[in-house]
Symmetry: C2
Subunit: 340 residues, 2 copies
């Protein structure tokens, strides 16, 4: 076997099968007007020669690269791998490859140039602000685009998210109903629509019963574990510490839990803690975190569905879908004086 020979092309297959290159192409694409006998002969030669079409050449011809881009921020947040896994399953099933950009560390340049150079035929944004250069470029170049777990008002693309506002409101009602009165909020940067919506929902839910969030019980900080940790410690050292610390997402809550552990506070005896997202780790015994779960699997599936639907019908009106959330009560908010 000559391992140095170049890979066979459709021309080689054609020659070996005694047909034209066009026929080989038709066999590949399942064209109807090919005689059964011819088709089988060509397929036999393909198998024998171990033929695989050249993806680049095909992409140039069809203007379809077969790859979909996924834009994430902070890939080290465990919710991101969960999303990536889901997207990988769905998209590989459709024969698409997945290119990943982490805007926090790589910036947006790579995404923008990939869009402009037609490297991707679709994009899933898991991170996008309103003025994001990458999102703008995607829409300008008419690349099929979906926002997943992020919303941008008036963006001309499909959006799939959870009902963050409603979920947070429900959480507020639960907490107030269980007797909590001094509610704190530790949040991440508010350029994330998710975190904004959750904050608004929480405030709205509290406002119904006349409650609010004291100035010293509120933090919006960049995503750094130690910052959330220290915020919790500082709040608990106040003359009037909170009786529950709500967090913008599960990872923030983990930072808060660490701060409480470090300062010797007990959860839930001294203070309650809640997260948001419902990542798998939140259920581990060491966290046992009460949280609001979004049905990420279904969200991912719909996002992919919308993505391919838009490729088929580019001019279809954009849709925004929000999934219902589910309150998951665990040990960080238990009523009973647990051993936690």
């Amino acid at each position: 076997m000559n391992t140095y020979a170049r890979r066979p092309s459709s021309k080689d297959i054609a020659r070996l099968a005694g047909v034209s290159q066009a026929t080989v192409s038709r066999v590949m694409s399942g064209h109807p007007h090919v005689r059964e006998e011819t088709r089988e002969r060509v397929l036999a030669v393909m198998r024998a020669a171990n033929y695989q079409p050249n993806a680049m050449a095909r992409a140039m011809k069809t203007q379809l690269s077969g790859t979909v881009g996924v834009v994430v921020s902070r890939i080290t947040n465990p919710v991101v791998p969960e999303i990536l896994q889901g997207l990988g399953v769905q998209l590989s099933r459709l024969g698409r490859h997945v290119i990943v950009w982490n805007t926090d560390s790589d910036g947006e340049d790579g995404v923008v140039s990939a869009i402009r150079q037609s490297v991707v035929e679709g994009l899933v944004f898991t991170a996008a602000r309103a003025g994001s250069a990458a999102l703008t470029a995607a829409l300008e170049h008419r690349v099929s685009t979906v926002l997943l777990n992020r919303t941008v008002v008036d963006a001309a693309c499909d959006q799939v998210s959870a009902d963050n506002h409603g979920g947070a409101e429900r959480l507020a009602r639960y907490l107030v109903g269980a007797g909590r009165r001094r509610v704190a909020l530790v949040n991440g940067p508010l350029d994330r629509s998710t975190l904004r919506e959750r904050e608004a929902g929480l405030r709205a839910g509290l406002a119904v019963t006349g409650l609010g969030i004291a100035r010293e019980h509120y933090v919006s900080a960049p995503f750094v574990h130690e910052v959330f940790r220290d915020s919790a410690m500082r709040m608990m050292a106040l003359p009037e510490p909170p009786d529950v610390i709500c967090c913008g997402n599960d990872v923030i809550a983990m930072g808060v839990l660490c701060g409480l552990r470090a300062s010797g506070r007990r959860v839930p005896e001294d203070v309650w803690v809640t997260g948001f997202d419902g990542i798998e780790m939140a259920g581990w015994d060491l966290f046992d975190l009460t949280t609001v779960r979004q049905p990420m699997d279904r969200m991912v599936a719909l996002a992919v569905e919308r993505l391919v639907a838009r490729q088929a019908a580019p001019e279809r009106a954009p849709e925004l879908t929000r999934f219902e959330t589910e309150l998951v009560v665990r040990g960080t908010t238990a009523h009973t004086p647990a051993t936690h």
Copy 2:
């Protein structure tokens, strides 16, 4: 502005600048034999027309797709995002895009077909067994390949890993020196070279002082949180429970810690626990996990370096590099009766 016009090609630029398409191509690739005045005229036209070369056409011509594949298993293991982030930084700096495959959920088919269809011009394997179809395909098709954090004996490609054996040996000496005698090991599947090497190193380190691992103090199980959790609970319920539970990696250790918490055991008073990897989360207060850290940043950087070096010189002899590890002692193994 006509947003429906097709993207300008190098031919369009050539026409507008009054030069041949070849000259445009030469300007793009920084060819030396282009007059300064001409170059600037072409560049001006490019800017005016917002020209971006078509990546697919370029890829077909040069046989270089500009994308590098990364094969991972279990993307939800936090060590994987840390690796992906590092690879993303390094590779995007080189203008490469990163395609990610998660073999646990997607299987290897996508990787294999991508290799055979020339979708990737390089591959980083973070997951690979000896007989892996993807690795075999990569080597057969002479794609530039690096194994990162995995080793496969006799594989004809560069390999970058840590000194797992030595690190585990050192860990064993530390534990024995601190008085531990009943050492348990909770490990993952042994088709991972990393886990195999760590186990061998630990056993070797213990053997020096005549110690071993009792049969009932050993587990090798698939990667499921609950399984590790239950293993710890079961071991501690034995007539002779271990006085330290070593784990194949940090995530396993977290499962073990959860099991100990669930069964009311205290760490390190009742039993010590150690991990391996040195992921960031291991340092969080809630885990405070003693572990063996591998210098992942430097490993990633070298892997990328080797990848591009091999592209430049395909016939260079493969190298295997192992980085020194560092024992990080934290609260799960503290000598002093801590409040932990």
